[in-house]
Symmetry: C2
Subunit: 285 residues, 2 copies
């Protein structure tokens, strides 16, 4: 039998408990509290030009989620930076996404946290449709407010339950509202323009990093209001868009049967989209 010098192949790997293994490798025992009790949180970000985008912001949000869930982080930001670099190098890709998953860990009694499990997955970038960002998306209004909205928990049950209905209605996402107030989409923040005024919700939302970046970019150009937003205001907005790590600045042109403005991506929205695209094109330089 020949001895082969086994080398790691270019591919997507994950970090878990100090080791780096292929993403498809069975990894978790089935008494993990993330699986048994939905006691988990995550975060998701990507590189542009090979450099993690707004890494400090994503790390701080992740650390804040962990603190609110009373879970200790097993690694520092500096240690994590090194892991990200290793996973990126192993991928052989020009750009990748990273997914952090932090759970309550293995629990013999299926209730009490002993030691969290922390996983970092390297993932291929989601498919990109630049034309879609010019055309915009339709969303469905959905009466719901996320539990613990400021934590990026793993609870997305309603999104997955509604996946078929969204497909059926050619909608790309849900717009959460409750008691006449809107909060966010399933995985992204919402903005509206009324004239030259840019308005976004500050309540019952996850603090999006793309939202923060867009507010910075908009500051020199638009008057901005960050406050609770009514569903009525959304239905009477001139322009609506949503922001996220994967959606960037995405026009929202329909809410159920309601057409937003002219039904086309708004001019202010496309202007901000342009600023964002310029920022990421030059990221790291």
């Amino acid at each position: 039998m020949q001895t082969v010098n086994k080398t790691i192949q270019m591919a997507f790997y994950q970090f878990f408990n100090g080791e780096i293994v292929p993403v498809a490798q069975p990894l978790l025992q089935t008494n993990d509290l993330g699986l048994l009790r939905g006691f988990g949180l995550f975060d998701y970000f990507r590189t542009y030009n090979g450099i993690p985008f707004r890494w400090d912001d994503y790390w701080n949000r992740f650390a804040n989620s962990a603190r609110l869930m009373k879970l200790d982080l097993p690694v520092t930001q500096e240690e994590t930076s090194k892991i990200l670099a290793d996973l990126f190098a192993l991928s052989g890709e020009a750009d990748i996404a990273f997914r952090f998953i932090l759970t309550g860990g293995y629990a013999p009694d299926s209730v009490h946290v002993i030691k969290p499990n922390f996983i970092i997955r390297a993932e291929p970038l989601p498919q990109d449709y630049p034309a879609g960002r010019l055309k915009g998306i339709k969303v469905l209004p959905y009466e719901y407010v996320r539990d613990l909205p400021e934590v990026k928990t793993t609870n997305y049950v309603h999104m997955i339950l509604m996946a078929d209905e969204m497909r059926h209605q050619s909608a790309a996402d849900l717009l959460f509202h409750k008691d006449g107030e809107v909060s966010e989409l399933t995985r992204s923040n919402i903005f509206l323009f009324k004239g030259n005024k840019l308005i976004t919700s500050d309540r019952n939302i996850l603090n999006g990093i793309t939202r923060k970046v867009v507010l910075e970019l908009a500051e020199p150009y638009f008057e901005t209001e960050i406050r609770p937003v009514l569903l009525d205001e959304i239905m009477n907005a001139d322009e609506i868009f949503t922001t996220s790590t994967t959606k960037w600045v995405m026009p929202v042109v329909g809410i159920g049967d309601h057409t937003v403005g002219s039904g086309l991506a708004g001019k202010h929205t496309l202007f901000l989209q342009g600023l964002f695209e310029k920022l990421i094109a030059g990221w790291g330089s």
Copy 2:
């Protein structure tokens, strides 16, 4: 090198994708929707005298949860019965518990269900404190109503977040209430006695199998009302108890700082507890 005839040791095993492997074996890939999105449900039951208790009831509840979550079951009840028998035989124990876990399965896009993952874990029985069932427990009132209460989802975030506070206040569980109405404890149903009248909630609850059994046992002895229950009624009840697979018929003697009745387990409660214990003592015979 000697050839050893490897035999499976007496121990706790789990079923997954047609195979039976030790419960401690790393099993799941990290792109399972139960882990990533909290899209999972479970069930939990046990044997008495080696025979699964009310197996048809537990199976039907599990199948109903799966239907409400739009997840296909990969095995029939008959096939599952055989798996339970195998896991039981491998354990070498007189009695064990079974935990079903059904998730949205592996999702390359982290959103859409392709094929559910179904795991059956054999587990040791939880520790039993017969004296505790005579003494009763204290619970903390907690304003919350479970999302999708009729589904036994894996979302128990609040229970785990409150674990330290419960320990601190010497409480064993949370009593969920909202808008003046009580629903259930984190993992068990609630009953109250007012005089000889037995009352239990029918709204925003998981349909407990032990609840069902206790209602059957109580029928010849007590007038029963199954209807929404107010928090005020709970605070003025003569006796309170809670029912579950692990708690059986457990007196509730304190709600936060409020003492229920005399602070001792009520006589009707202990009578029903006796009936339940007689039923399980003779189970299978």
